[in-house]
């Protein structure tokens, strides 16, 4: 292997060089002998031989080039020189590497999140051929089991079709719920995805029959927590929603299910759904949409062909699964639905939907931070290039090529940025974990594979190389332009012209401009987060404990009695029951109608329905504006009454007094009886704090026709809500022993619903602060350098009688010019940039004047701080000492 010889020659370069010297010496000796034989004296012969041989150094270099990798040799020499130089300037190296590590680390952290959430494929066999079956225009991708069974029947159209539905399963045997994420899966799921069991077996096609046995496949994690990783777990029983399931197998730890950001712990066969839910509705219900369907194209077919074949079959599939109980117009639109496929190699993710935009914003933010860091390092390198001008001049005078000097400078830049990247990867590891804990704030754990893979490494390396080139080129160019004559004459004193000074100031002004963009963005996000957390949402978020109860069996419970006992718990001020709770996920809605109300469209008439007990409004802190609350008399036998929100009152009745008026509510094609309005309450948020829908009606829970299966209880207390949990549990154990319970506080739910906003606001503020710090360092460094460079000038001024006030003003003037120029540029940039975060804002606009003025003030202050020390130093300068140095 020739390259191996070369490498060996390179590594043993001394030995190699000696051998070449011997070879040349032999040649010269032979030549001299020859010349002596032709009559020359020994000395003359030796001289003539040497003369004929020519440039021995050039020959040696060329021979060496033939024997080694010339570039590698030069690189090693450059690296040695660079390391020696950096060791001599530890402070410079440290500042540069840490700035870069922060910049590159921030980029790597955000990129590894983007990678995990948006780019990485599912850890399954051939994820690129997975196709998601969707209905109509590709938007709707949940199916009923009859549809799935019908589609599965056409297994000649595609390979390995399978269905799955995500669910939460309760593993507790009673009392407080122990919920885990899981999936209902068809028999083809594991074989089609190529996911093996590391112990036992997976669910197979043969398990996929009606009336199948209750078996479960568990994740590696659940195997560890439930069974301590014991091999005897196979065949043991797990209680799933109070029903025994037999553990059939354990999955590989790398498999997390079909959704990025979610770890499924438990997989149950679809056919066992009736065991858990009681009744065949899950399997036979034709309007029970709970399954996703995946297929792969048959060999040789494309995704488009598969979609076309499925679309051709759609009419017969729809006819076979038509929901017979639907009204005629809905039935005819059902029959018109078509089927299509969409590639789904990356798996779905609500996390992705929720965070994609935020992560993109953060990526831009960290890219700006890196730019600012690069500007700092470029500035440091420029300053260093000035100091090293003398060295460069000597090297140029000795015959070094300018290209060689540029290469040396670039080597230094690359070494710095790669060192920064290496340190940055460590920062990124911490950062990404911190961010994930943000994403999973409030109990719903986000599970992300944040490992560093080739994509992250490639990204980080690319970022390091690009930033190295960014900040390395200008100083390299600068130093190569050195005029050796002038530089040598100046002997170490700076001979830098206006070019270098301006380059430094332009970099700093650029930093100020970018910092301004980051500061305004951070300010806007922070302001909107503050608005979200402090604006009155129609309820009082503190001091409320929520309990969500699900009754497993059909034994009737008396919710009145439960409430009565809860009210008696020490510390409880009020207690109420409701079907919907603020920031909860449950909800029921209907269309409202009233005499004189003509909605422009269906959405105008759509309202949430909350079934509440007396005292609900006082408990969650929603103000009653007019009329009365629901009372104990509003029971099953009495006439139907309702409270409505201001928005409902305005929309249904305009300016008329709503109290005593009637309205109807319809669901499907059933129209409920009339409700009489007895009160009006303020609007309040339900699904999220950004929710603008104020259409909610409150009807007495006691007037519900069917027995209650699930409900929420709210407690307002004077003591920390957590202290009430045990009391509530024991009441429930007494009154409804089989109920599964979940506790949280209203504050927790609000916090969870704001996790994205909190993440954005916190990180943007953090990175904005980082940018500000870097800009401060840049400003200070440049100003300090300017003052040092102009020692003589300032010394002469002071000697000639300039007041120190004047010197200070001169320094401050210079800094403020740069800061103002930067702010002007920053305003222009921010006008464009803040438009991209407009969709994340709440309660303020992208041009919020307070935020902009605040950012300007902060930057001016930072400019002042950065100028203070150099200005002080300049004004205190001893003119004699400065001049004596001349």
């Amino acid at each position: 292997m020739a390259w191996f010889d070369r490498l060996r020659n390179l590594l043993h370069s001394n030995r190699h060089s000696t051998a070449l010297d011997r070879e040349i010496a032999f040649h010269l000796a032979e030549r001299a002998d020859h010349l002596t034989a032709s009559g020359l004296s020994d000395d003359a012969a030796r001289a003539e031989a040497t003369r004929r041989f020519g440039n021995r150094t050039g020959l040696k270099e060329r021979t060496r080039d033939a024997d080694t990798f010339a570039w590698l040799d030069a690189l090693i020499a450059d690296l040695r020189l660079t390391l020696r130089g950096l060791r001599a300037n530890r402070g410079f190296a440290l500042v540069a590497v840490i700035s870069l590590a922060l910049g590159i680390g921030a980029n790597t952290a955000i990129f590894s999140l983007i990678n995990a959430v948006m780019l990485r494929s599912l850890p399954v066999r051939h994820p690129e051929t997975l196709l998601q079956v969707a209905m109509s225009n590709g938007q709707d991708n949940t199916f009923t089991n009859p549809l799935w069974e019908e589609i599965r029947r056409h297994n000649d159209l595609f390979q390995g079709p399978f269905a799955y539905g995500q669910d939460r399963f309760n593993l507790a045997t009673g009392g407080e719920a122990r919920n885990v994420s899981g999936e209902w899966v068809s028999g083809g799921y594991f074989s089609s995805l190529g996911v093996p069991a590391i112990l036992g077996r997976t669910i197979a096609l043969s398990d996929d029959i009606r009336g199948c046995a209750p078996i479960a496949v568990i994740s590696y994690g659940l195997w560890q927590t439930e069974f301590g990783g014991a091999r005897s777990a196979i065949g043991k029983t797990l209680t799933v929603n109070s029903h025994p399931f037999t553990v059939a197998g354990v999955l590989d730890p790398s498999f997390f299910g079909m959704t990025v950001g979610r770890q499924s712990q438990l997989y149950l066969p679809i056919c066992s759904e009736p065991i858990v839910d009681g009744g065949q509705d899950g399997l036979d219900g034709r309007s029970n949409w709970w399954l996703n369907i995946m297929v792969r194209p048959v060999a040789g077919a494309t995704a488009a062909q598969t979609g076309a074949r499925l679309a051709a079959l759609a009419p017969s599939i729809m006819t076979a699964t038509l929901p017979s109980d639907w009204p005629p117009d809905l039935q005819s639109s059902y029959l018109k639905r078509t089927l299509t496929v969409t590639p789904e190699a990356n798996g779905f993710s609500s996390l992705r939907l929720q965070y994609a935009g935020a992560l993109r914003v953060l990526m831009v933010v960290v890219a700006l931070v890196l730019l600012i860091a690069c500007a700092n390092v470029a500035n440091l390198l420029l300053a260093r290039a000035t100091v090293r001008q003398h060295e460069a001049a000597i090297r140029l005078a000795l015959g070094a090529g300018r290209a060689r000097l540029i290469r040396q400078m670039l080597t230094e830049a690359m070494l710095l940025s790669l060192a920064g990247a290496a340190l940055g990867v460590i920062f990124a590891g911490w950062g990404a974990n911190l961010i994930t804990s943000f994403l999973s704030a409030g109990g719903s754990t986000a599970w992300l594979a944040l490992g560093i893979d080739w994509r992250v490494l490639a990204f980080t390396t690319a970022v390091a190389l690009v930033s190295g080139a960014c900040f390395g080129l200008a100083p390299a160019w600068q130093s190569a332009r050195t005029d050796p004559q002038a530089a040598l004459k100046a002997h170490g004193r700076s001979v830098v012209g206006r070019g270098r000074r301006q380059a430094g100031w332009v970099l700093v002004a650029g930093q100020v401009a970018l910092s301004f963009v980051l500061l305004t963005s951070a300010g806007l996000l922070l302001g909107s987060f503050r608005n979200l957390t402090t604006r009155h949402a129609g309820f009082q978020r503190s001091g409320v404990l929520l309990m969500q109860a699900d009754l497993v069996d059909d034994t009737p419970v008396s919710t009145d009695a439960i409430l009565e006992r809860m009210r008696a718990l020490p510390g409880v001020r009020s207690a109420a029951l409701s079907s919907m709770t603020p920031m909860g996920s449950r909800g029921e809605n209907g269309l409202l109608s009233a005499d004189g109300f003509h909605p422009a469209n269906k959405m105008d008439a759509l309202a949430w329905v909350n079934r509440v007990s007396p005292g609900y409004f006082a408990t969650v802190g929603t103000r009653l504006l007019r009329g009365r609350d629901i009372g104990p008399g509003d029971g099953a036998g009495s006439s139907s009454v309702a409270l409505i929100t201001e928005t409902v009152a305005r929309r249904l009745f305009g300016t008329l007094d709503p109290i005593g008026r009637q309205f109807r509510r319809s669901m499907g094609n059933n129209t409920n009886p009339q409700f009489e309005v007895v009160g009006v309450v303020e609007d309040s948020k339900f699904r999220s704090l950004r929710d603008s829908v104020g259409m909610v009606i409150y009807i007495p829970a006691a007037q519900r026709g069917s027995p209650v299966k699930n409900f929420n209880i709210e407690l307002r207390s004077d003591i920390p809500p957590g202290a009430l949990v045990n009391g509530m549990k024991s009441i429930m154990a007494d009154m409804a022993p089989t109920a599964s319970l979940e506790f949280s506080t209203l504050e927790e739910l609000v916090a969870r619903s704001l996790s994205r906003d909190r993440l954005l606001a916190t990180l943007a503020t953090f990175f904005g602060g980082l940018a500000l710090l870097l800009a401060l360092i840049g400003l200070y460094g440049t100003m300090a350098y300017q003052v040092a460079r102009r020692r003589n000038e300032i010394g002469i001024r002071i000697a000639l009688g300039a007041a120190s006030r004047r010197v200070v003003r001169m320094v401050l003037g210079e800094v403020s010019r740069v800061v103002v120029a930067g702010i002007v540029g920053g305003v222009a940039l921010a006008l464009v940039a803040t438009r991209f975060i407009a969709s994340f804002l709440f309660g303020l606009t992208a041009n919020d004047p307070t935020t902009w003025v605040g950012a300007i003030a902060v930057l001016l202050l930072v400019g002042l701080v950065a100028a203070a020390i150099p200005a002080r130093r300049a004004s205190r300068m001893n003119p004699m000492a400065a001049l004596r140095e001349e």
Binding site: R22, E23, I24, F26, H27, E30, N55, G58
Partner: protein
């Protein structure tokens, strides 16, 4: 490393060196220059400055191999010998040289 295509001299030098080694057996660098000069009746003079880089490059290309030996005058010298790959290269180079010269000759005669 591929040699530059337009460097006729370098290509020729390699051809001459390979031919010399093929006909005379292992030789040291000085003997190669002396031989070429002698056989070409002083028409061709090998520059030492080019010879050693060329020899080392050919060694890297496995066209020649080198080892240290002792000369008649009891000096240590590096002897170069042609390898089978070198013989193959020589055949190719000779053929292409013949084509080149006959082409040049025709052009000089008829153009």
């Amino acid at each position: 490393m591929a040699k530059p295509k337009n460097d006729i001299l370098q290509g020729t030098l390699a051809l001459l060196v390979l031919k010399t080694l093929a006909s005379r057996g292992p030789l040291h660098g000085y003997a190669i220059t002396a031989h070429i000069q002698h056989v070409s009746a002083d028409l061709l003079r090998v520059e030492e400055g080019s010879l050693y880089p060329a020899l080392h490059r050919m060694e890297q290309q496995r066209l020649v191999r080198a080892e240290w030996g002792i000369t008649e005058k009891n000096r240590q010298a590096r002897f170069y010998a042609i390898t089978p790959a070198g013989r193959q290269a020589l055949t190719d180079e000779e053929a292409s040289w013949a084509r080149l010269t006959s082409g040049v000759r025709r052009v000089l005669r008829y153009a």
